[in-house]
């Protein structure tokens, strides 16, 4: 079907470039306080300033260089690093914030973005929004519905054809995160070997929170095909992997979300 054939509900929408990506917030409630989206973005900027590994003055950079101790940092830093550690253990080391970069420097980015998006969603909800979608670089958190009578439709990008999707999920109150090698080549490092991950073209993880969905997608992708099964063992999360021979392998719970 042609692009744009679907009618669009009323929306308040804003887009900003931050955290190394493009983040859009799309609210479909008829009435939402005008400051809600601004407040969510203000939070995301605060996170970016604190956690960016590209900003030498950020707390995370200074922590990585030994200029700060964890006690010197904001409590959010400890919280994020605790989540990183939990994921490192859960994933058998496939996710490792201390080996996520080729240079071996501390990089919790695999957790920060998802965690920040979950908190941004909470800010929107506190402001009274119930139907919204946050898209952070192709990681999509969808709450409520986009318009009466249907759920949010999130496509999983086809790995070889940017004009098409491999499948479409119908979701509500779910995060959809995809790790993959689309155009950037090998960019996820397997924390166990320090080598770029291979074996899957992409791994999409769906579940209630973006923090976990994004981190599981990163960790599962680093594991290659076994990562699909590994993700399925995480309670509440489902996986859809695309293999290098062009097959989709996905969990039963995910099958229930596929649009027919």
């Amino acid at each position: 079907m042609a692009i744009g054939a679907m009618p669009v509900a009323p929306r308040q929408m804003a887009v900003q470039h931050l955290m190394g990506t493009v983040i859009s917030i799309d609210v479909r409630d008829m009435e939402v306080p005008s400051g809600a989206i601004d407040a969510a973005f203000a939070w995301l900027h605060q996170v970016d300033d604190r956690f960016s590994t590209y900003k030498p003055e950020s707390e995370i950079s200074r922590l990585g260089h030994g200029e700060l101790t964890l006690e010197d940092c904001h409590p959010d830093v400890s919280q994020v690093l605790a989540i990183c550690e939990e994921l490192r253990i859960k994933s058998g080391g496939a996710f490792n914030a201390w080996r996520a970069r080729v240079d071996g420097r501390l990089d919790p980015s695999g957790v920060v973005k998802g965690w920040a998006i979950d908190r941004a969603a909470a800010i929107l909800e506190q402001a009274g929004a119930a139907n919204f979608c946050i898209n952070a670089g192709g990681d999509v958190l969808a709450h409520g519905i986009p318009e009466a009578g249907r759920k949010w439709r999130v496509g999983i990008r086809h790995p070889r054809d940017p004009q098409s999707v491999a499948t479409v999920l119908e979701v509500s109150n779910l995060a959809v995160a995809t790790s993959g090698r689309y155009e950037r080549g090998d960019h996820i490092i397997d924390g166990r070997s320090g080598e770029p991950a291979r074996g899957l073209l992409s791994l999409t993880v769906v579940g209630p929170r973006m923090t976990e969905a994004d981190a599981y997608a990163t960790a599962g992708f680093a594991m290659g095909e076994p990562g699909i099964v590994w993700t399925a063992t995480q309670a509440g999360y489902e996986a859809y992997g695309i293999t290098q021979n062009g097959r989709a392998r996905y969990t039963r719970g995910l099958a229930d979300l596929i649009s027919v």
């Binding site: 042609a2 692009i3 470039h17 990506t21 670089g137 999130v154 496509g155 990008r157 004009q163 155009e183």
Partner: protein
Amino acid sequence: MPTRAAVAIVATVIGVFLLFSFKTPAQAKPRTPSADVAQATPTPSASASASASSALSPTPSSSSGLKDGTYTGQDYANQFGDVQVKVVISGGKITDIQPIQLPYDRQRSAEISQYAAPLLHDEVIQQQSANIDYLSGATYTSYSYAESVQSALDQAKK
């Protein structure tokens, strides 16, 4: 406009996938100097831009601050080609986003990897066109896409 090898693509592309992007820092380069998305400088009007533009005469509209009309975004280059869209505003709302140019993805080497996981559904992936709200799993191309959409919206706010 600069010459380019990108293929003009119409109509048969996927649905209203707004503003998606990728997982790591952006390096998409706009063809003209521009600030980041949040503050993108509006480009000169549609007529100065690519071929497929057909700006309607803008009319004042409701609360969104967007004037009705069709606005062509800047084209943004990335290593896989150019991305350019036009955005249709009607009744002060975005009603359509149409790609003018999208690059082809590269063929990936097909290493065969066999792994048995009998509990999983296993099928050959299809190439589907479908109406969607958002797209999961995107990188440079979609960053360029977002930039182009934003620059079109900036024009609509004038």
